[in-house]
Every structure is written in C-alpha cells, then in structure tokens.
Symmetry: C2
Subunit: 230 residues, 2 copies
Amino acid sequence: MLLAVDCIIFGYDGIELKLLLIQRSFEPEKGRWSLMGGFVQPDETAGDAAFRVLKQLTGLEDVYMEQLNAFTNPHRDPMERTASVAYFSLIDINKYEKQISNEYHPEWFPIKKIPSLIFDHEAMVKMAKEKLRYKAAHHPVLFELLAEKFTLPQLHNLYEMIYETIIDKRNFSRKILSSGLLIKQKQKQKGASRRGAFYYKIDKRTYQHKFDAFLNIVPNPDNLNGTIYQ
Amino acid sequence: MLLAVDCIIFGYDGIELKLLLIQRSFEPEKGRWSLMGGFVQPDETAGDAAFRVLKQLTGLEDVYMEQLNAFTNPHRDPMERTASVAYFSLIDINKYEKQISNEYHPEWFPIKKIPSLIFDHEAMVKMAKEKLRYKAAHHPVLFELLAEKFTLPQLHNLYEMIYETIIDKRNFSRKILSSGLLIKQKQKQKGASRRGAFYYKIDKRTYQHKFDAFLNIVPNPDNLNGTIYQ
C-alpha cells in the first residue's frame, strides 16, 4: 500500500472561479490533467507532503489547506494500491499570481470547463466543491477567495459561480448590505461598468459574531470555531 | 505502509455522554484501552473496513459513520508505519444495547472518565469531540444521540456534557421551546423527578428549515446539506 496526497486549489480572479491543474508528467496516464499530487515520504505526514508537493509543482506556499477526505478505493490507481489524502484550499488568484512557477505548467481552469481528470480526481473535485458550498453557507470563507477590496458585482458573481445558479442581483445586494457585514470604501472600481462600482471590505468581526450567534443555545461557540477552522 | 481504520463511537443513555472502547488483545500495547480498529484488507475501502471492524468487535451494525480525518504521523504506530482513517458515529445507547456483543468486551466510558488510550487515539477522540461540538452547533445531530422521545432535562444535560459547561436551565428551556423545534408529547417520564418531565419529539422538518434559512442568500441549501450530511 502506498500513501499519496492530492491538492485541490480553488482560486478566484475577480471574474471567474477556477481550479488549478497540472499535466501529469509520468506514467500511468502521462499527459492527462491531474490535481497536484505525490507520494508521502517516510518522514512526512500527509499534511507535510501536501505542502511540499504543492510548492514543488506550482511554487505556491503559505496557503491555508485543510484535509478534505481520504480516498481509499482499492482500484483507484491501476498500478499499485494507493490511498490518497485530499487537501483543499481557497486562494485569491491575483495575490498568488507572481508566486506560481511555470516549471510544471500549472494552469487555472474555469470551474465549468474542467477537463477530464485522472483516477478519481473528478470525485475529489466534486467533494471539494460540495465542501466549499457547505462552508460558504456557514462561514466567511468566500472572503479568502476575494481580494481585500471587492465590489458587490464580484461578490454576487462569486456566489453565482459557487452555487451554479442565478441569484437575483437586487435581492442579493439588499440582503448582503443589510447584514452589516460589509464596510463601504470611498474608492470605486473603474472600467468594469460605466458608473463604476464601489469597493467594499469585509468586517470579519461582525461576520464571525453574526455567524456564531445564530444558534445561541451553545455557549462560547467562538472557541469551537477557532478549533475547527484550523 | 499499512492502512488502518479506527472507530470513535459516541453514545448517550439519557444520563451520560459516553465513548465505546475495547481492550487491545494483541501486541503492541496489549491490554490497554483502544478505539475499535483494524487493518484495511486488499478488497476493502477504509469505509468498508470501518463497518467490518465495528461489527466484528462490538456487534454494532447499521450505524451511521462518517470519516473524521486521516492520521498519518510516521511514528504513530511503533511497529510499522500505519496510516489510520478515523470514523465517528453518534448513537442512542439504549437503542443498540441488545446489539452489542460481549465477545471482545467493549465498554462504554463516560466522556469525562476516559482511560489512557494507545497510540494517537486520544488525539482522535479530541478531534471527534471538536467535530461533535461543531456539528451540534449547526445541525440537528444531537438528536441522533437521543431516544425518539426525550425530556428537556435530558436534552439540557446532553448539551452540558458536550460543551463541558454549565448552561442555565431556565434560559435553555425558554430558547429551545421558542425555537419551535420540539413537539410536546402527552406522556410524562416517571421516576426521574417528583413531578415528572414531559416527553418531547424533535420536529426535524422545522429544524432543517430553520437551520437552512439562517443564511438566506444561498439558494436551495437543502440540496447542499443532503450531500454533506452523508
């Protein structure tokens, strides 16, 4: 039995939700698209391996990754039995653009135009998308995908892409603004529309508080989130 | 590298929150307390192995288990490198009491009196407790630990044990009753107190709806939960 890791990196560039992939450089399945993966070395945990592999193949480092699931189907790798621990991450593409190296030709694919992937990587991506939807409904995680300053059209667009559905713009703006989560900036984004769109920042403290307070039977849920959020 | 599974089974008997453990019957660490664990066989997924091991060691079957985390520290098992995928489950002890076999002497320990455990099993239990707290703050999972009919003191007691804190009884009752989540039964529990306590049932539809509606920017979150809740 071998132990491997695979990294599912979601990114947003302000326009599209994307997934980072590389072309596999060795057999089996050489030349096909793949998540960033590799084998866990004797002195490593799976988490260590995930960070090493991600850095080696893409140049990315200091990104937050969390364990998604262990994939253990006995036939998932046709060469030799290999269990894979999948990790996932959400990043603001523009922030990491310069860090990404071209040595292994990693490429960002729009989430709706993902090519066919090797092994069970499509199942991994599917589960990661479900977890992203779930987390985004419960936590301010979407703001990890956004630049520090973002516009309402960008936020609306991100929600639409994650939930793969049309969300009424007027309703969305009304709800999100009435939540008290956003701090309006004086600056406008130029170019995207004739009038321009105001930038906003997230008030993380308010969001956390709002989020934690929704089931107020539970005492001190801050402590709990702190732990799980790691 | 070997691949193993470990099962973390939380149970509630109406009085105490408990954890199911067995005494290890082989070296290393023979005789010490352990989660129910074993190796993944060539034709099995880790999930298959978890259900097989749990049934073999405790008699338990048809319980809902979900993957918690893969534990992959290279030195977690001193004999040979072994990664372990941990699964966890919440059960109503009374419902499964008859099913549990005595062949391997599984024993329920109150969550506050857990003995020292082998390997990294204490870290597994710690993570499972955190996940239980987290899930209980977001989902009606605690009702998987309760009998179909339960009293307010039992529910209050369960919350106190899970969050390891004192929760004001009057406040708790007021909040939980005003939530519209509970359906009062005509029957009273006899014996636990002089006046007796009314039984309640959970209105799962209301709970689900309430839960899903809290962030109403997200469309059709029912679909999302369906998936994640698996």
